[in-house]
């Protein structure tokens, strides 16, 4: 599955502009700081390329904006008006999905207690399903920790967000790898020249 061309172009544009901002910011950075800023601008560029349509992108941007230093970068990449808009959306969105999640949890809890009371003996079939359920809940928890903003989502939207996130990550990796290859080749050739 390859992302559409426009997505790659958008990402690349935003990422490069973010990198330029980083370079003008500070002259002497350790390698780790450089790496962090590169990664951050890549992430933000990817998230902004999604245009606020996915939950994980909003969460990523929101997390980045918490830090004052990074907030500048976010604003630069996003452009001021879009930044405001996404801020508004990101404030509203987790609360909404929280409500939904909470309602479902209440419902499940109420159903669960009723069911538990009636059963005395647990037949093996149901035991197996309990085990399976526990396994999958464990894994969904892990997945929630991986996907940015995953803790607020219910199962269904979590899977959708994961889909989108995986695709964006792959795009990001493709472009970053190409750029890294390019710069390395350039440098190696330059060294050959001398």
């Amino acid at each position: 599955m390859r992302a559409p061309i426009s997505l790659k172009q958008k990402f690349l544009k935003k990422w490069i502009s973010g990198l330029q901002l980083c370079s003008t910011c500070s002259k002497n950075m350790s390698i780790l700081e450089r790496k962090k800023s590169i990664k951050l601008s890549a992430d933000i560029a990817m998230a902004s390329a999604r245009n606020g349509r996915t939950c994980w992108s909003l969460a990523l941007i929101a997390n980045a904006s918490k830090n004052d230093k990074d907030k500048l970068l976010v604003e630069h990449i996003l452009g001021n008006s879009e930044f405001q808009r996404l801020n508004k959306i990101s404030i509203m969105r987790p609360t909404m999905s929280n409500k939904r999640v909470r309602c479902k949890k209440i419902l499940k809890r109420s159903c669960g207690t009723i069911r538990r009371v009636s059963k005395r003996v647990v037949p093996p079939k149901i035991l197996a399903s309990c085990v399976a359920k526990r396994l999958s809940t464990k894994r969904t928890q892990v997945l929630k920790s991986l996907v940015p903003g995953g803790e607020f989502m219910d199962d269904v939207s979590l899977i959708e967000e994961t889909l989108d996130y995986i695709m964006s990550l792959q795009t990001q990796i493709d472009i970053m790898r190409s750029l890294a290859n390019a710069t390395e080749l350039v440098l190696s050739r330059k060294n050959e020249q001398w």
Partner: protein, 356 residues
């Protein structure tokens, strides 16, 4: 688009098992409402995501007032014998549409033959919206929605026609589905219960939810390499988690590489533009990034061709000996300012085409 039409406005009909009849429909409705609240600004994205595209949802909306008016009558029917539907045209129409789908579904006894068939085609299709709702339709477990106007009507079960009852040996169940398409109206979902299975609202909702999740998991399985052979949710989730982790690690690694390569964080576009490396022509770049960023390095995969270009763009050569960050040619500078990126890119490609 056949799949869309077929899975389009499906009428939800209830075919309770012969033994059980009434349901706690009001409770079910409330639960559905909980499941279906969507923040308004997401309505657009969700309409894109959902099975029913917005126009078809609107169509259903228009149909529902008529159908609800006559819905009261079938409620009193019992048994599966010759049922006469109310002569409402809308109902008949929808039932007909559903029967087409049900007939198709009856040919397959497994769960998701059409889903898997439609998933690849759909997933290769619009990638702009990642989730593909026609694929998501759990084929024969069809989840049509009949949105109702804001009047608070009870969930009505409608009995199927005789021929449909005969056709389906096993009554299929369609559960609550994404009714997020009508964010403004509260859709009411009519479900069919499997024969011999509990028809209480909670288990129905649970089953609906599970089917939704399963459909999306199939999409994920397609995306993650090596996942389609695995059966079982937990193992698939394992694979997905591994994949996400590996992707994140790759991002870290690549950013470290870039940090190591560059003395400064900026991207030395000038040097890259001036570089003569054939291997820059990754397949990734071939069609999309090139026009934007490095138009001189055209889509050729061969070094030879590139050497040709290199000789032609003779004015770039003196730049080779210079330092990295000098600005040499104004067209390249304009590339860096993304205001006119599109214009300059097109200029360059035309220029090169002429030269070649």
């Amino acid at each position: 688009m056949e799949p869309d039409v077929g899975t389009g406005p499906r009428s939800i009909t209830i075919q309770p098992s012969l033994d059980q009849n009434a349901l706690d429909s009001l409770q079910f409705n409330e639960e559905i409402q909980h499941l279906m609240t969507v923040p308004p600004e997401n309505a657009n994205s969700f309409t894109a995501l959902l099975e029913l595209p917005a126009p078809q949802a609107m169509e259903l909306l228009h149909h529902s007032p008529e159908s609800n008016a006559s819905a009261a009558q079938p409620y009193h029917f019992s048994g599966g014998a010759n049922l006469t539907f109310p002569s409402n045209i809308a109902l008949i129409e929808r039932a007909a549409r559903f029967s087409v789908f049900a007939a198709a579904a009856d040919n397959n006894n497994n769960n998701s033959p059409e889903t898997t068939g439609s998933v690849p085609s759909n997933s290769s299709g619009n990638l702009g919206k990642v989730k593909n709702e026609p694929a998501e339709s759990d084929s024969n477990h069809d989840n049509p929605n009949s949105p109702q106007p804001s009047q608070n009507q009870k969930l009505m079960k409608r009995k199927e026609r005789e021929k449909k009852a005969k056709a389906t040996t096993k009554k299929t169940k369609s559960g609550a589905n994404d009714s997020n398409e009508d964010a403004e109206k509260l859709p009411y979902v009519h479900v069919r219960a499997r024969r011999g299975q509990a028809t209480d609202s909670h288990s129905l909702a649970e089953r609906a939810r599970r089917e939704k999740i399963n459909a999306r998991m199939k999409l994920l399985q397609e995306l993650v390499p090596g996942c389609s052979k695995i059966s079982g949710t937990a193992l698939v989730l394992d694979e997905i988690i591994n994949h996400v982790q590996s992707l994140q690690r790759q991002v870290e690694f690549l950013s470290m590489r870039l940090a190591a390569v560059n003395p400064r964080v900026d991207v030395n576009l000038e040097s890259i533009l001036a570089a003569e490396s054939g291997s820059l022509m990754d397949s990734n770049y071939s069609s999309m990034v090139m026009p934007l960023m490095w138009p001189e390095l055209q889509v050729s995969g061969n070094r030879q061709q590139f050497e040709q270009q290199w000789h032609l763009d003779a004015h770039h050569q003196p730049a080779w000996g210079r330092e990295e960050n000098q600005n040499f040619v104004t067209p390249e500078n304009s590339l860096l300012s993304y205001d006119s990126s599109a214009n300059s890119a097109s200029f360059h490609t035309n220029h090169l085409k002429m030269e070649l």
